[in-house]
Structures are given as structure tokens and as C-alpha cells.
């Protein structure tokens, strides 16, 4: 009996070893490109084009970083992105928070139709709306402006945000609001004083989702913004990564500067983001 057990334990250990090996292989494939960018960003200017695979290259310097910050408009691009993104996220979340409250707490004609409309709006290919949005923005003379970008972005994550927030409001017991209503607040007062403060986690997730979507957007920015002063960082990096191999180092440095914060935010929030995603998909 004892011998058998140890055989099983041995097999289990072997299994786990294989699993570790497999996962490490996959994980390496996931992380290595990021490490490569890091490595390119540290290369000295004369060795950008090299067949070297070492992660810390020989003669590592931060020259690409200083050149990026000094010679290009990278900071300006970051600033543009930040403004546009913050404005869109703010608008997106404020619109979603009230709409989700209506869906969560009221019965009214057209409720189901509204929910279906929200879901089906996700079916419209984003690429398809770029052209009419572009023409609208042109007609409004908002080309190459922040406002044009904000308008174009502002509702893109709205259905998803409403969906997440509605799910969260549903979990807050109604008795809390009822107590407040008995005490004499209005329905809106209850929303403002009870529901909103309680749903801070969901609100911040919706905010982050809006933020990352707009922050990483490229295709709309490509057609709305045309002077490099107005570029968002995505356009700027695309330009740097262009044909000129000399700018590779700067592209890599810029990528690192943008990726690290985004990565941290994503990893920090991924737990909630994922539960929101799976919750929505299971229900839908």
C-alpha cells in the first residue's frame, strides 16, 4: 500500500514538472518580445541593427530615452493622449453610471429593447463607423482637434460600461435605498448618496476600461489628427517605427515608457476586469 502511494506521488511530481516546463515555455513566448523591446531601447546608436539576442546589450545606454524625450515631441504626444483619454473616460463613466442605474432599478417599457440595443451595438464593426465619424468631424470643422477625438471616442466603451455597472448595482441590496427613501431622500438622492459611493470599485473599473480603450486607440486618431503636434502617442510611435531603422531605439524607448504604466494598471485591475467580462458573457 505504501509503495503504491509513493508511485502515485512520483507520477504527480513528474506531472507537475511537465506542467511547469510547459507553462514556462509559453510564458517565455509571452514575455520575450517585451524584453526584446527593452533590450533594443538600451542599445547604443551604432548597434541598433544587430543580430544580438542578449537582453542587456553590450554598452547599454539610456541614450535612446534622452533622445526620445529631447529630440521628438514624445512628451507632447503623451500629453495629448492623456487629455483626450481623461475627457472621454470622464464622459463615458458619467453617462454610463446614470443609464446603468435606470436599467438596474426601474421597470419601464422598452427596458429589454434597450438592453438588446446595447448588446447589439457591439456587433457593429468599429471600423465601419470610422468613415461617417470622420466625415461628421470634418463637416463640424473639428479635424485635428482634441474635441473631435473626444467626440469620436466618447461612446465607444459606453455599452460595455453600462453592462458592468448594471451588474454591480444589481448586487447592492435594495433595502439600503428603501431605508433612505423612508428617511426622506428622493430616488435620485439615494442614487447619489448611497449607490454611487458603494459602487466605487465598479466605477473605477469602468473608468479604467474607458481609459485603456481610448489610450490604445489608433485607427480613428490616424484619420482625425494630421499634424504631428496634435498626435497621440500611438501615432507618434507608429511614425518612429517607420522605415528608418535609425529611429528603432527611440521607438523601443517610447514603447517601454508607455507600456510599463499600462501594464501595471492592467495587472492591478485585471481581477475585476476579468470578472466583469466573464459575468457579462455568461449572462449574455
Amino acid at each position: 500500500m505504501k509503495k503504491e502511494l509513493s508511485a502515485a506521488a512520483k507520477r504527480k511530481r513528474l506531472n507537475h514538472l511537465l506542467i511547469h516546463a510547459g507553462i514556462i515555455l509559453f510564458a517565455a513566448a509571452c514575455v520575450y518580445p517585451l524584453l526584446r523591446i527593452f533590450s533594443v531601447s538600451l542599445r547604443p546608436g551604432d548597434k541598433l541593427v544587430s543580430m544580438d539576442l542578449a537582453i542587456i546589450p553590450a554598452g547599454a545606454t539610456f541614450i535612446s530615452y534622452t533622445k526620445l524625450l529631447g529630440d521628438t515631441m514624445f512628451l507632447r504626444w503623451l500629453w495629448n493622449s492623456l487629455l483626450i483619454t481623461l475627457a472621454t473616460s470622464f464622459i463615458g463613466v458619467s453617462l454610463a453610471s446614470t443609464a446603468a442605474y435606470a436599467f438596474s432599478r426601474f421597470r419601464f417599457p422598452g427596458k429589454k429593447a434597450g438592453m438588446i440595443l446595447l448588446l447589439s451595438s457591439q456587433m457593429i464593426p468599429a471600423g465601419m463607423l470610422i468613415l461617417p465619424l470622420f466625415l461628421m468631424i470634418m463637416k463640424l470643422k473639428l479635424m485635428n482637434t482634441y474635441l473631435g477625438m473626444i467626440i469620436a471616442y466618447s461612446v465607444s466603451s459606453l455599452p460595455f460600461s453600462i453592462w458592468i455597472l448594471k451588474g454591480y448595482y444589481d448586487t447592492i441590496p435594495r433595502s439600503l435605498e428603501e431605508a433612505a427613501l423612508v428617511d426622506g431622500t428622493s430616488q435620485v438622492g439615494a442614487f447619489w448618496r448611497i449607490i454611487l459611493p458603494l459602487s466605487t470599485p465598479a466605477l473605477s473599473i469602468a473608468f479604467l476600461f474607458n481609459f485603456t480603450t481610448a489610450w490604445n486607440e489608433y485607427l480613428v486618431a490616424r484619420v482625425v489628427l494630421f499634424s504631428s503636434k496634435q498626435y497621440t502617442w500611438t501615432l507618434g510611435l507608429f511614425e518612429l517605427q517607420g522605415q528608418y531603422i535609425t529611429q528603432w531605439g527611440m521607438f523601443a524607448a517610447g514603447s517601454m515608457l508607455v507600456t510599463i504604466p499600462v501594464l501595471c494598471v492592467f495587472l492591478y485591475s485585471s481581477k475585476w476586469l476579468i470578472s466583469g467580462l466573464t459575468l457579462g458573457s455568461v449572462k449574455g
Binding site: F26, P33, V188
Partner: protein, 395 residues
């Protein structure tokens, strides 16, 4: 750089929306408190536009002001409708929904309708000035739709080639996303050490900004400096006999652009599937497996008869979403091949649509193209959801 003006430009727009929402919430609040007082409602309707005029009119002018007014007008119209036509029932939920749905109507529904309008007219580089000045366009009927099927949206690739390529692209991507995601999720769903750490590493492709990830991967497929070809060259150095088997560095970006894009997109998409499937796996109660163990089931029997059926309901919506996302993925293909002089060998329907509009400036043509693509996607979704519902009913 002129930070002050840029802050100004943005902050007043935020102010506008904030004021809109504040006005709405404020109105609702008063609506309840002063429900019986007849003077309040007309007063609110009169005061807010007046305030808006005073505060924003002088400060901003132009489009901001028009936007603000139309937003307010929509709110007021809804309020009047419910106050006097529906007599106060359901006013609150509709007003709460109004900002979001006005936004969606302006920026999702209207563009969609506008696209349909465009597809029956002729907007191209030569007529765009006329449209800008007069707002009218020549009507051409279904000519644009005929052109979609008979001429190329780019310079040579036809619609049918694009369609075939899109199907291959979508199927191969989703297949490998699910396969890879499933394998990884199965491996992670053991009680192993460093599980959280591994998971963190494995979601990195998903977490990175897509632009950075795709551009970096494109660099790795570069003919001489890319990681892939460096590895192939080194392998050849170690094992010279491989060259007899046809192993050689490949011009990825020029000779096999679609394959390159597919590989990049598979790399990008696996983490999402992994996370969804892992969530499904973790929700399966271990008692099923214990029972199966007692019955002496093998690993693959357990996989086939317990894991797969129980993960399916979590997986199917993710697969549907993934299919639609992949079908609509312009990003990867455009970022890899979209530079001036880039190849069109990798283009799928949606990326060709984007290029037809913005590289070749054929606006109406690409609008018709978009409607055709949308119709296909729509029928796929309806058909798919129907079959999904039917499967649900059977159980």
C-alpha cells in the same frame, strides 16, 4: 507647447457634459421634491437655457454651444413628453437613460444611417468639396453595391479573394486562440507553485497596448533583425543538415504577410481565451472528478465527459465575441502592412474597407462595402445566436 490652450479646449467640453449631467440630476431631484408645485417645471426649462446662454455662450461660442444646446433640447423634449403626454410615469428612468442614449444615437446610430445614405450616393475625392459646401451629393442608386462585387477595393485584390482570406483568417485565429487558451488553462488549473506569477506573465500580450505589441512583433519578423529569422539562422548554424529540408530565413513581411499577421494575432489573443476558460474551469466542482476517479475514468475521459461540457457555456459567448473581434480586426493587419507602399496580400475585408476609404479616398464605395460586410456579420450573429438558443432549449 501650448498647454494652456489645450487644457482650455478640453476642459470646457468636460464642463459641458458635466453641466448636462448635473442639470439632469438636479432637475430630477427637484422633480421629486417640487412635484406638486406648478411653477417649478417651466421655470427650470426657462432658467437652464438662459444660464447656458449666459455662461457658455460668451465663453465658448461655435460648435460647443450648439452641442450643448442640442443636448439640452433633447433632455427638455424628453422631459416635456413625459410630463405632459405620459403624465409623469417612468420619467425618472427615461431621463436617467437619456444622456447615454442621446450619445449613442448621435455617435452610433446616426453615423450608421449616414453610412447607408453615403452608400447610395457618390462621395469621392472629386465630389467632397461640393459636399462640404452645399451638403448635397449625386445619387447613384445601387451602383456602389455593384462595384463592391465587381471591382477591387484596393488595387488588385477582389471582394471574393478578400472574403475567402477573411474566413481563413477568422477561423485559424479563433481555432488557435481556443486551443492555446484551453491548453494553458488546463495547465494552470492545477495546484502548482507560482500559479499567480505564471498567470501574470501569460496575460502580458493582452495587457500591453496593442499598438506597441503589434509593432514590436512586426519588428521581430523583420527579415534580418527580427528574432524569428535570427533563430532560424542560428539553428542552421548548429544543424547544417536542416537546410536540406528547406529550412531557411524567410522574408516574412513581404512573402508571407498574412501568415505573419495571423501568428501575431494568435500570440495576442490566447491570453483572453485562457483567462475566460480558466474562470470556467475553476467553477467546476471537484466532486465530479472525485466521482469519476472512483469509477476509474482516465484523464481524457474526464476531459471529454466532464470538463468540456461544463466549460462550454462559459466558452461559447467568448468564442462568439472572439469570432466577431477577429473578423473585425483592422488593427493588427493595418499596423503590420499599412505603411505607404505596404502590401495588400494580407488584407481582409475590414482592413481593405479602411484602406479604400482612407488610403484611396473612395468614401461612398467603402460605405457600400461596409454595409455588405455588416450584413454578413449580422446574419452570422443572428444565425449563430439562434442555434445557440436552440442548443440551450434542448438541455
Amino acid at each position: 507647447m501650448n498647454i494652456l490652450t489645450s487644457i482650455g479646449e478640453v476642459s470646457w467640453f468636460i464642463l459641458l457634459v458635466a453641466a448636462g449631467v448635473a442639470a439632469l440630476v438636479g432637475y430630477l431631484y427637484s422633480h421629486f421634491k417640487f412635484y406638486s408645485r406648478s411653477w417649478f417645471f417651466p421655470a427650470v426649462l426657462a432658467v437652464f437655457p438662459a444660464l447656458a446662454l449666459a455662461v457658455f455662450g460668451g465663453l465658448l461660442g461655435g460648435y460647443a454651444f450648439k452641442l450643448w444646446l442640442s443636448f439640452l433640447a433633447a433632455e427638455a423634449a424628453i422631459a416635456v413628453f413625459f410630463r405632459y403626454v405620459v403624465k409623469g410615469r417612468h420619467t425618472v428612468p427615461y431621463l436617467l437613460l437619456a444622456p447615454a442614449f442621446v450619445g449613442l444615437a448621435l455617435l452610433l446610430v446616426y453615423p450608421f444611417v449616414f453610412e447607408v445614405y453615403l452608400s447610395f450616393h457618390d462621395l469621392k475625392l472629386t465630389t467632397i468639396m461640393m459636399w462640404k459646401n452645399t451638403g448635397t451629393l449625386p445619387f447613384v442608386g445601387i451602383d456602389q453595391y455593384i462595384k463592391v462585387f465587381t471591382t477591387s477595393p484596393l488595387s488588385e485584390t477582389t471582394f471574393w479573394q478578400l472574403l475567402l482570406r477573411t474566413l481563413v483568417w477568422t477561423f485559424s485565429n479563433v481555432f488557435f486562440h481556443v486551443l492555446g487558451g484551453f491548453i494553458l488553462a488546463l495547465m494552470l488549473n492545477n495546484s502548482i507553485r507560482f500559479k499567480g506569477f505564471y498567470r501574470t506573465l501569460l496575460v502580458i500580450p493582452w495587457a500591453m497596448p496593442q499598438v506597441v505589441a503589434v509593432l514590436a512583433m512586426r519588428g521581430e519578423f523583420h527579415a534580418t533583425n527580427g528574432f524569428v529569422n535570427i533563430v532560424i539562422t542560428r539553428l542552421l548554424g548548429f544543424f547544417p543538415f536542416l537546410s536540406h529540408l528547406g529550412v531557411a530565413p524567410v522574408q516574412w513581411l513581404t512573402d508571407y504577410p498574412l501568415l505573419t499577421c495571423t501568428l501575431i494575432n494568435i500570440w495576442l489573443g490566447i491570453p483572453f481565451m485562457m483567462v475566460v476558460i480558466l474562470g470556467g474551469l475553476q467553477s467546476i466542482s471537484s466532486s465530479y472528478y472525485d466521482a469519476a476517479d472512483i469509477d476509474g475514468a482516465s484523464y481524457f475521459q474526464k476531459l471529454r465527459y466532464i470538463t468540456l461540457p461544463l466549460v462550454r457555456p462559459v466558452m461559447m459567448p467568448a468564442v462568439t465575441l472572439g469570432t466577431v473581434w477577429t473578423f473585425n480586426n483592422i488593427n493588427v493587419i493595418y499596423l503590420v502592412t499599412g505603411q505607404a507602399g505596404g502590401t495588400e496580400q494580407a488584407d481582409i475585408l475590414v482592413s481593405a474597407l479602411y484602406k479604400a476609404a482612407f488610403t484611396y479616398n473612395r468614401y461612398s464605395y467603402s460605405a457600400a462595402f461596409a454595409i455588405v460586410v455588416f450584413a454578413m456579420l449580422f446574419f452570422f450573429s443572428v444565425f449563430y445566436l439562434k442555434s445557440f438558443d436552440a442548443a440551450k432549449d434542448e438541455r
